[in-house]
Symmetry: D4
Subunit: 252 residues, 8 copies
């Protein structure tokens, strides 16, 4: 259930078309849908600003599909991450789109976009994770741009794009190998920076741990770090920040 | 050099009291102050929204003091982190305050506070890091509150404080040991959550790595994670988010 | 050889139908059955309260089947863990049941159930391990219930089920990713809690080590921790605890 | 607040000497005592079967003492773990006892003991942790015995004590270095075994991680494992198991 | 080139059938056979007591076969380890034997056996590595026996075989999971013990590192430890020890 | 109790000066001496060829001294490892010698030496561990020589000493940093090689783990590896091998 | 764009056939070629002495091919590393050569070779990485030789080749397992040594980390270390050093 | 013995003032000086281009001093690294200089300097290691400059110094925390870059491992990486490269 669904119920109540008991009954009724193996929680979009999402990795395709359908039926929105093509095929849902590079399946994307999120990435191999972040933030309702392949080994490429960095309200920076890009970008902006390490690299890259640790130790204070390859989480956080309403007028 | 210093120069230029060459000269002149061993960069507060900070850990007290003085002389602000009492004593600066629990030395704190940052912590031993985060955000100009000792082993204590969680614009959540608190807090709010693992614990807590990894793997999407014990970084990030101006009116 | 088999021999001895030498001979004779490559030890069910179990992972299917048959022939019970479908097919044993999600093969399950074990799990992907625990405890003779998909990101789902938590004598709590659920559950009950980390997650979840370490560092004192994905072990421990006879009447 | 305190209130209510409002007020009132830096939670002994405990490690002595006093004032019980002598001296509490080897401070120990917990340890250097476990279980009300210095390098020493192993209802097994003792003990009993790795050893013992991992991989199914050096936790778990009331009479 | 080959040359020299130059030429000539990609070193059997061995793992089958053939041609002996069936098939050498469980290919095994090496293993899954050790020692010329499936969870099985332990001159002990068996065996004998950890286990067994570290930390002094799954190395070491000639008569 | 003590009892029995009961009583009586905190086991020298040893590291000096005295009283031999000077002073035993570099305390060293053990070390900083190995082997009764400071960076120094390598029956090779020396030495001898990694080095030497892992992965088959800094264990193993009696004459 | 391309433009400018604006336009124009997903940077060969290279590992074959073609079109050179045969086939470029062992695809190799680089390797399995290094250095224009299969277990093989070591200006030393070869080689030469660890080995070789750490801890000062299996990087560094022009004549 | 010493002997031989036997005797005679515990090897300066160096860390001050004196007596040069002030005081050598920040003791520094080495460092805390590198290279005879405090968080500081980067023949880049500086510098030069990670940082910096791994995974091909804090090694390597004589004229 999305936020709109909830507001409709409450507005009906405020307008007197339903009474309190009925409102209570509806609210109680629909948050959970028991699939025997997974309790969908449709209240979450209310609480956390993001809809329930299905992580396909580690689940059998059949289970992913069953959960995804139930979710879409209730909320009219759907976001599946790390999905192999097989899941999209089994889902067989016309209204859904599948982004092969990122493995995202989406339906019910927010129509209106607001603010500005810029997703920056270091190397070609980092693009799938960068796309996951950009598509997620856009799906949730953030206006999103991308700036790819501006790794630190050719620092002038990044410097030439300083304008783009300065225009963004929130930046997501994606990098594998030595994970140095967030530090450089973070030194060029006063806006929040969300860093995403990727598993790109080999040997001493330790499956992305090296990039992760590098980002946690950035000499720029206040870089937000995500799990390895977690483009989805970065998109969520960027959206949360990007859509934070301004503080209320204050009185001393 | 703080933002005010820069604006003064630019305004003088706009008003014609200095010409362009002079303005250039002044700008060029003061950003660096060569201490032979450390280039202070006073432009950073412009670029990154936070002033230069001195990390006392790993430096000799004499060096920390010399850098701190130069920084304060130029910018009128001073923030030293992880400082043992010895540094504060050697600094001998009347206008500075020292917070023993967090090891922060501060001078030139922002007078006006805005927005709202809530710092939540799990156990008594996590308080020094939580204080570092709260004092940093406040120093930079964020209105800050704290909610301590609401660890997950007594979940009702946290539930009783849901009101406080909902009022905050940005939340900093500090926890050691199993590092579970950010997941629970993150499930109760739609606002950005900054998680700080601490080195509290022993044995398999691995000096805080366990809490760090737990937070990176939170089942709540979009938690921002900081380095172990990095309260200062969390305060910076929370302030960056808290003071992000609203997006400009948009045209399709 | 199960407990009943042993008692039969001893009772025969007590009743004089066999003499001591013959009893000795029988006891000596049947505990080991030499399969050339594996000594079955049928005495274990006596000593440890659980029958010999075959871990199929890391064995060739042929070997697993041969050991399983010999075990069933001697003891009338069979428990194989982490078995792929191929093993069950090669086994071709009508009286055995195969649980695909958990990979358990069972035959000779205890008919009477006693006490109460509650298996709680965090996410959908944790269910195979939770099932392994629940089925094992039930097989051994514990009355078992399950409560799935109550992860800490939606803490109210768990709070609504507090009644179920309070009714259980022993709780098994299964969670991957940040592994926070045992701490929250452990804070809500005074009964023994057995925590099982799973390998669910990616990147910094380190194949389950993060959840494992988090559980070992729980801020709730006295959580029992098992190896990663070790649902079988959790079921055994829960059963051992659940069926512990009450202390004998005591005299000061 | 201990269990007795709570029962007194409830009984007063049942007997009509206080009314519901007053009972509510008292219950609401005393569970928390705000020390500014630590919320004591006296309800925990109700919920978890163990009183609040103070972990002295990582806290300043002053803070430990302040928390300990408040706790004792409210509940009449006190348990401080990993306390250096300095804490005990600063506490200056006549009714408290200090066990130097284990670092425990105790007051208000349970008078009546029940059941039987046996604490087994491998080497001389493991004794402090073993004592922490034994004293904790005894403090909480379990009858406790110890069997020290029966490491696996001299297996006959352990075999000679099989009688003691068989008499215990719950066993705590403490070992450092290769951590092999729980497997051997676990093979000799059908009762629950709680394994505690210690940081005894050097080099590849990795501060106790080797013993910890060894215990998690025990070939005996169902060993409960605790964090490194966590004798207190082991004592709690053993007590929880030892005092588990028998299952209610059941109806099919 | 085996020892016999060398002796033949030297004896020819001693007997005058070749002169020094010719002997030098022959010795110089045959030690290396250049396969373009691998220098076989036939002198090694002289220097190290073991012939050159080919580790098939990590090599293309074609390369393994080419090296193996050249080696056999020169020395009349062949030992290939960790060989998949494909290598044996491609080798197509009638005089070679292939042991599927251990992955050893052997030809030219020593006919006479001496001394006594006992290979002990813990679980069924450890047998392939145990076989690798036993077959290697036997191939090199040690009389070898095996005692399998005597893991520490059923300590009496091992105790019943104390006689076999006492008869052996050198013991190889193979175990995965917690790796405890070498400590127990080492406590029952005064002979050299060679411990081999295996990668048997899952989760916190860390691919055999847990067993490896446990063995390195054995409380029995003087256990010799090998790399994970290195049965071949254990067989070599056991043979080196087993065939060490007695010290020469000594004079004070 | 040493081997001589035992033989005296048995011989008295054989000669009729004591009867079986008395012999049994004596044997039963003296193996254990209960120090309340540590069971000395004097039978070990019989079973394992080495006397009980006290590891001083991790024990309080008082405890070490108490155990050491009891041990010496019973067996007439004493070996304490990793002992700081304080322990030797508190021990105050005239007949004991203290070797400061290695931290060994010894009394009752074997008078007659046999065979030959050569201890080789790489760098100056490795000498304390090398001395621990050499003194231990000598204490137990092996004739021992040393060859220090022949690290692989100056390979010709080692090559010049090939004669010494060839004369030894057993070699102990001690090295820190990259731990390469055992591979080079192992390639130059056919005798058993015992490798001891040391914690010498910094940064990526990981406290000796790098040398340890390097030795476990030696390209020379059959190197015996010990725990980091475990010179004592190496001395024991070298002695066990060095004093292995020749195999009995064999019959086909 | 290679160096020649740039010089052509600049020479045209110097000769007056183009004016400054046109030169600027051309320079600006061609460095980037937008493939939508990857910005090729043809300026790099100028800045870093090596052309842009494509790492095939972790990319889809289609993407690798598209980038490779664009790169070759612009610069007339092509270097693809870690390429499976599939990439070479899809590339379908007649002028390119594919080296199966190393996985390199090359076109436009430098015709003239200078200086001397010697690539030394330890075992047969290390050859693919050694070839990657040798072919890369040669491709870039260094005269290159190889010396394979001279591992430290047969140190005399290396000693016999000391002449080759002394003739080389730069040495690349490739080794897996214990990674000892660079230390030995480094002790025999005064020239720069580039060490490359490989992932050859199993168990405690930790996928090459053991060799990597060993090389970082070499007792020979000044060994340059590369990432695991990074033959390409070693070839680049060796070429950079080998072609460093002599220092300009100096004036005090 | 330094290179001059050797040349003197050889020249005497060439000039007939000594004969071959005498020359041999002298060469044989002086390379080793037996200090009982450390064989000084004065030939190394010949073979490796750097004199023998004493690593003070991990040695007792007395031993360091004894070795240092012997070395200076023989060769007229002295380099001690990681020396605490105590060592310098005990050394009491007038002709030696002590650099407190880097812990270097030097005597006999090369008078003539050649080429150009530039040492670049990221933060103030990295300076001691940077100084160790710069002083070492200078001591050996390289002309050396430094450029400190140009970390990646303020990338324009580095860009302003591009001229200095381009002038250097060899660059040493020193950085802690995320270790990103070598990648950025490496992208701006075609000269060899030597990267030195430092242990500066806390938490997830893992004592410098994070910076080390980041440098090994640099996206710039061909960065030479040293052990953590190994400024001395970097100075040696930079000097070896800087003083490499040009290749001889070549013939096709």
């Amino acid at each position: 259930m999305n936020r709109e669904g909830l507001e409709k119920i409450l507005r009906s109540l405020a307008e007197g078309t339903v009474d309190v008991e009925e409102a209570m009954r509806r609210l109680r009724h629909f948050p959970y849908e028991d699939l025997a193996f997974a309790r969908l929680e449709h209240h979450r979009s209310l609480r956390q600003g993001v809809p329930e999402v299905v992580l396909a990795r580690g689940k059998r395709a059949e289970d992913t599909v069953a959960i995804a359908r139930a979710m879409y039926r209730e909320s009219g929105r759907l976001l599946v991450t790390k999905a192999p093509p097989e899941v999209f095929e089994k889902l067989g849902m016309e209204e859904a789109a599948y982004h092969r590079a990122s493995g995202l399946i989406m339906a019910g994307e927010a129509a209106a976009k607001t603010g500005s999120v810029l997703v920056v990435s270091a190397g070609t191999s980092d693009i799938p994770v960068a796309e996951e972040a950009a598509l997620t933030a856009s799906f949730l309702g953030s206006r999103t741009k991308t700036l790819y392949d501006v790794g630190v080994s050719g620092i002038h490429r990044l410097m030439e794009k300083r304008g783009a960095l300065e225009e963004a309200r929130v930046l997501v920076v994606v990098a594998g190998m030595e994970g140095a890009l967030p530090s450089v970008v973070g030194g060029l902006t006063s806006r929040p920076v969300v860093a995403v390490p990727t598993s790109v690299g080999y040997g001493a890259s330790l499956g992305g741990l090296t990039a992760l640790f590098a980002m946690l130790n950035s000499c720029v204070p206040g870089i937000a770090v995500m799990n390895i390859d977690n483009g989805f989480g970065a998109g969520c956080l960027a959206h949360r920040i990007n859509t934070l309403e301004p503080p209320a007028a204050e009185t001393p």
